[in-house]
């Protein structure tokens, strides 16, 4: 089903996600940020991708002070809105279910987030280096704040 209008985006998402939706920030009618639990990512993504016919634009992994964050950016092209779903992962052991089995468009970006930020994606069909050399030293994640170069 398609959300009929921009004003309906948040109400429909609240209804469909129910208790899974922990928090929502409306920056503007076309920029909405949701917070969900990492454990719910598969179901949340299924609702947004399959039920509501959004398109995965990309996903952003960030080394924030209190957690590793992943933002999944979904475009609702038919009503001109972008909804970004945020999850927070434990700093000591950042891992989450892969949504690649649901959405092929997530395969490469999850590989990239794994190799550059060190987030483990459980159930990813092909988790191996995408951008970095195959013999890139393990445990060195370039996009992390504490990465100081290969020679450090």
């Amino acid at each position: 089903m398609r959300i009929p209008a921009q004003e309906q985006v948040l109400p429909v998402l609240r209804e469909k996600l129910g208790g899974r939706l922990l928090d929502a920030t409306v920056k503007s009618p076309v920029r909405i940020f949701l917070l969900v639990s990492a454990a719910d990512i598969m179901e949340v993504s299924r609702v947004i991708f399959r039920d509501l016919e959004a398109r995965l634009q990309t996903a952003t992994a960030t080394d924030a002070p209190d957690a590793f964050e992943i933002l999944y950016h979904w475009a609702f092209d038919y009503i001109g809105c972008v909804v970004s779903v945020r999850v927070k992962l434990d700093k000591q052991k950042p891992e989450i279910d892969s949504i690649a089995p649901l959405c092929r468009g997530a395969e490469w970006i999850e590989r990239e987030m794994w190799e550059l930020m060190g987030i483990a994606f459980r159930g990813h069909p092909d988790l191996r280096h995408l951008l970095l050399m195959d013999d890139w030293p393990a445990g060195k994640f370039p996009l992390r704040r504490d990465f100081k170069g290969l020679n450090a």
Partner: protein, 142 residues
């Protein structure tokens, strides 16, 4: 260049190797072959295999993976070969020089004989460089 290249006075076979390029230099190189600039009138021919190359044209910033490739390609080129670094990325690494994935410049890994600066260098700059290079190889004045 301490070798004498008499065989190169007819036409130059150029092999273009791009390593982590943004492509602007590469497109300007191809542009130099189109009718407006027509590099072929100077006897420059792009070849598909480095084993036929007299000149190795390097463009791009050459990240770690690309540098390994570049070294292999350089070894495969029959010597003597003239190596030209084209564009600021190939010369210094440009704005990418501090990247975790680069060990610039490529000139550190492969001996470079000539530099064509620019971002990208215009086709006129490339032609000017090629003319000077040919003259130098022939031992004449450009």
């Amino acid at each position: 260049m301490s070798y004498v290249i008499n065989a190169l006075t007819k036409s130059l076979n150029v092999f273009h190797l791009a390593g982590s390029p943004c492509n602007n230099c590469d497109i300007e190189i191809l542009d130099a072959l189109t009718p407006k600039y027509d590099l072929e009138r100077f006897g420059i021919v792009l070849v598909g295999s480095v084993r036929h190359a007299d000149v190795l044209l390097l463009s791009g910033a050459f990240n770690r993976k690309a540098t390994i490739r570049a070294k292999t390609v350089y070894e495969q080129a029959p010597k003597p070969v003239v190596v030209i670094a084209i564009g600021n990325c190939a010369i210094t690494g440009n704005i990418f020089r501090d990247s975790y994935n680069l060990d610039p410049p490529i000139g550190k890994h492969i001996p470079v004989d000539a530099y064509i600066p620019g971002c990208p260098p215009k086709p006129e700059a490339m032609i000017s460089a090629v003319v000077k290079l040919i003259a130098k190889l022939k031992g004449t004045k450009a």
